[in-house]
């Protein structure tokens, strides 16, 4: 076999191994937290999905209840349109988590409650919104 053929064979070999490896990890991720299906609250409730899911929505005003004992456990209502979902979360909350915040939660849905282990708020690098909704727009007389 001449060296050129050997190289082509080897390169094909590498590509095959890589495709196999990537598909294998994609189908059997080692960590159960490696993947989550993005669903709407509607789909979650309707299909009663119990595997790991990701949901986006707004925190309902006044719905945040924080545990008096350890101040970490918290319950709030996630709103997506007219639908509401109770979410439990027990880790350090991001700074931007508050009433009306846009959040993405990841976790498992069990017995009517969503147990989240990840809670993300709208990221800083996408700090873009509609100016008309920005209430601080005429701030000068307040902040002086």
């Amino acid at each position: 076999m001449n060296s050129n053929k050997k190289f082509i064979l080897m390169i094909t070999g590498i590509i095959t191994v890589v495709i196999f490896w990537i598909s294998w990890v994609s189908l059997n991720p080692a960590d159960e937290k490696a993947m989550a299906t993005f669903v709407s609250v509607d789909e979650l409730l309707e299909d009663n999905i119990t595997h790991r899911t990701k949901l986006g929505g707004l925190v309902k005003d006044g719905s945040i209840v924080i545990s008096e004992t350890n101040h970490l456990d918290c319950v709030f209502i996630l709103k997506e349109g007219d639908l509401e979902l109770e979410v439990k979360y027990g880790r350090t909350r991001p700074d931007l988590f508050k009433d009306g915040a846009e959040v993405i939660v990841t976790g498992l849905y069990e017995n009517g409650v969503f147990h989240a282990d990840e809670l993300q708020t709208k990221c800083a690098s996408r700090y873009e919104g509609d100016l008309r909704n920005e209430k601080s727009y005429n701030l000068s007389e307040i902040d002086s």
């Binding site: 993947m35 700074d95 009306g100 008309r132 601080s136 902040d143």
Partner: protein
């Protein structure tokens, strides 16, 4: 008045870009030298008007002219001047103008540098760059104009202000460095396209873009590292890399660019891999545009759909056009791109480079696959599945370790073919070093990828040491020099080679840091003044909690006394809980922010976050993380930068 001047400047730049392309097209048709000169000047004109527009926007930001929507959105009267200027790249339209600004700086340098050089290549180089400028001019003129006036139905007395997370020196430097990297690859890309059109197969143009590519690569590297540093210091989740789409957007072109700066050495020295290099620079440039698109269009942040921003379709069209035109051109020029020489042996430097290249591209593909997994899964199975860091880590750890191994193996291979004797001579010491480290780690009870990573690190360090000592010894024998003189002379004779080794050493340091991540520990708890808690061999006692009001925020400051298990004092940590815009009557507009505090040593970082406060009962909620070896990542970054500068430093005779 002046905002209009900005818009006019952008309009003129757009007009000039059209004229530049037309003039140089004509020149290519009839070869009239005057047309070439005109084309060059018109191209400089594009850059001039872009500079003008950028300065006008910067000036408006500093002057707080809230009649401009962009200024009102990203700055307020209270914003410090530095951050008023950095607001230039804080938002979408501004950052696109800033991209264009950097591209214009590069274009100007290329034109001025090559007035007497590469005369056959330059027209097409300028055309390519002008077309890229034209694309960004279309965006800033007609899609998302930074000079757009504020809506006329209300008057703005003060702007929004810059997000406090972005009011940070690192965050002011990180985007420009990243952009200097992204945009820098336009120049090698322009040369590659021009070389194809001109059927120029000489290695000459490759030499002239090697430096450009290294500079762009250096900026991209610094940009990525600074981003990680900022995330680690500011965001408070205790890590520096999360495989976030925006991070991946910068990492993918970095991977292909790293492959490129390696494989152009082969083309320069051996005139091989012509096709491969062409593919790499096209992909790298495309990924740079794609990266800007991922970061700026909001495709990935809005988890719902592509429709959020009008930028998406335009960017994607541009990305596909680049690929179709470039690869189409490669097809038509396939005969010119055929290399005359072939690989001779597996155990050659050339094949080492080829392997390393393939692995880089493979890794890039893996990252690409994960980043767009939600899009693919939706197309194939109808459900949007997102993948998190565990997925990326699982896929990339083996690939990364292979790369690390190749970092050590490659430089020890000889050009063309490495004989058995030399193989044994070169590899004995490094392999033994690696094995000793592996055995020691196994004895102290470590297992798995951690052991492989550390021992490969030792192996690579040993190969680098061998290369240096062998070179120094050879010089000392020949010229009877002192060690220091021999070292300096050896490096300055072959800067790119030894600079490259230093970069490799930096990479080893970074891998040591990455590996430390396997030992991270964290704990969340609440403390009253006087109470303490225990994490990973350290004791944390809340000595006191104070409150203070500063110009733009209100802060609770904790005083944590850290002792080790023997009761010996380690340090005091003062993480803060801050409320920005604290005087705003609307509580929703007040923005809490946790300012963390880190105690750093080479062995480990003690990372403290003040996540919440109950001021009535004076209880602080604290999160502590003990992250081993993080410092090695940043140190590796410094070494990498130093090594690249050594490789780039011009020789006296050049």
């Amino acid at each position: 008045m002046t905002p209009i001047a900005g818009s006019v400047a952008l309009n003129l730049a757009f007009g000039f870009s059209i004229l530049t392309v037309l003039t140089l097209f004509l020149y290519n048709k009839n070869g009239d030298e005057r047309l070439f000169l005109t084309g060059q000047r018109l191209a400089l004109g594009i850059s001039f008007f872009v500079f003008l527009a950028t300065f006008i926007l910067a000036y408006q930001l500093v002057q707080s002219n809230f009649d401009i929507d962009y200024v009102a959105r990203y700055t307020s009267l209270e914003t410090p001047v530095v951050y008023k200027i950095s607001a230039l790249w804080a938002g979408q339209s501004g950052s696109l103008l800033f991209w264009l600004f950097i591209l214009s700086i590069y274009t100007t340098i290329v034109i001025l540098q090559n007035q007497q050089k590469h005369n056959s290549l330059m027209p097409w180089v300028i055309i390519t760059l002008a077309i890229v400028q034209m694309f960004f001019l279309v965006l800033t003129n007609y899609v998302t104009n930074p000079f757009k006036p504020t809506d006329a139905d209300f008057i703005v007395s003060n702007g929004n202000g810059l997000n406090p997370l972005l009011q940070n020196v690192t965050m002011a430097i990180h985007p420009p460095t990243l952009y200097l990297g992204y945009v820098g690859f336009s120049v090698p890309f322009g040369f590659a396209i021009s070389a194809m059109i001109n059927r120029d197969t000489s290695p000459l143009w490759i030499q002239s873009i090697r430096r450009w590519s290294l500079v762009a690569w250096l900026f991209l590297s610094i940009g990525i590292i600074l981003g990680g540093w900022w995330a680690y210091r500011e965001l408070g989740w205790g890590g520096y890399w999360a495989w976030d789409p925006v991070e991946n957007a910068s990492f993918m072109p970095w991977l292909t660019a790293t492959a490129f700066v390696h494989s152009i050495i082969i083309q320069e020295k051996k005139d091989m891999l012509r096709v491969w290099n062409m593919v790499l620079i096209i992909i790298t440039f495309t990924l740079c545009i794609f990266g800007t698109f991922l970061t700026r269009s909001g495709v990935m942040s809005s988890v719902h759909s592509f429709t959020g921003s009008s930028l998406g379709p335009i960017f994607l069209t541009f990305v596909f056009s680049i690929m179709i035109v470039s690869f189409g051109m490669m097809y038509f020029r396939r005969n010119d791109l055929r290399s005359t020489k072939k690989m001779e042996s597996f155990t050659s430097r050339e094949s080492g480079f080829l392997f390393n290249n393939m692995i880089f591209v493979v890794m890039c593909f893996a990252v690409f696959w994960g980043t767009l997994f939600p899009v693919f899964s939706e197309a194939i199975r109808g459900t949007k599945i997102t993948v998190g860091p565990p997925f990326f880590n699982q896929i990339n750890i083996p690939i990364g370790l292979i790369l690390l191994a190749l970092t050590g193996i490659g430089p020890l291979l000889a050009w063309r073919k490495t004989g058995k004797k030399i193989l044994i001579r070169n590899f004995t010491f490094p392999i033994i070093t690696g094995l000793i480290v592996a055995i020691l780690l196994l004895i102290i009870g470590l297992r798995g990828a951690v052991v492989i990573s550390f021992s490969l690190g030792a192996f690579v360090t040993a190969t680098i040491t061998t290369e240096f000592t062998r070179g120094i010894q050879a010089r000392r024998k020949k010229f009877n020099e002192s060690i220091i003189t021999a070292l300096i002379k050896m490096v300055s004779k072959n800067r790119s080679r030894y600079g490259g080794y230093v970069v490799h050493l930096g990479i080893v340091f970074m891998f040591v840091g990455f590996t430390g991540h396997a030992f991270d520990q964290e704990k969340e708890f609440s403390l009253k003044v006087g109470e303490s808690n225990h994490v990973a061999g350290y004791n944390f006692k809340l000595i006191q909690m104070s409150e203070t009001e500063r110009p733009n925020h209100y802060a609770w400051i904790s005083d944590l006394r850290v002792t080790n298990d023997e009761g010996k004092f380690v340090t005091n940590l003062h993480p803060e809980k801050r409320i920005y815009f604290h005087r705003n009557p609307d509580p929703n507009r007040r923005q809490p922010h946790s300012e963390l505090d880190i105690y750093t040593t080479m062995n480990r970082d003690i990372y403290s976050i003040f996540s919440g406060v109950d001021s009535e009962n004076s209880v602080a909620f604290i999160k502590i993380m003990v992250n081993p070896l993080v410092q090695w990542v940043w140190l590796g970054g410094y070494i990498l930068v130093f090594g690249t500068i050594v490789a780039l430093w011009p020789r006296k005779d050049q």
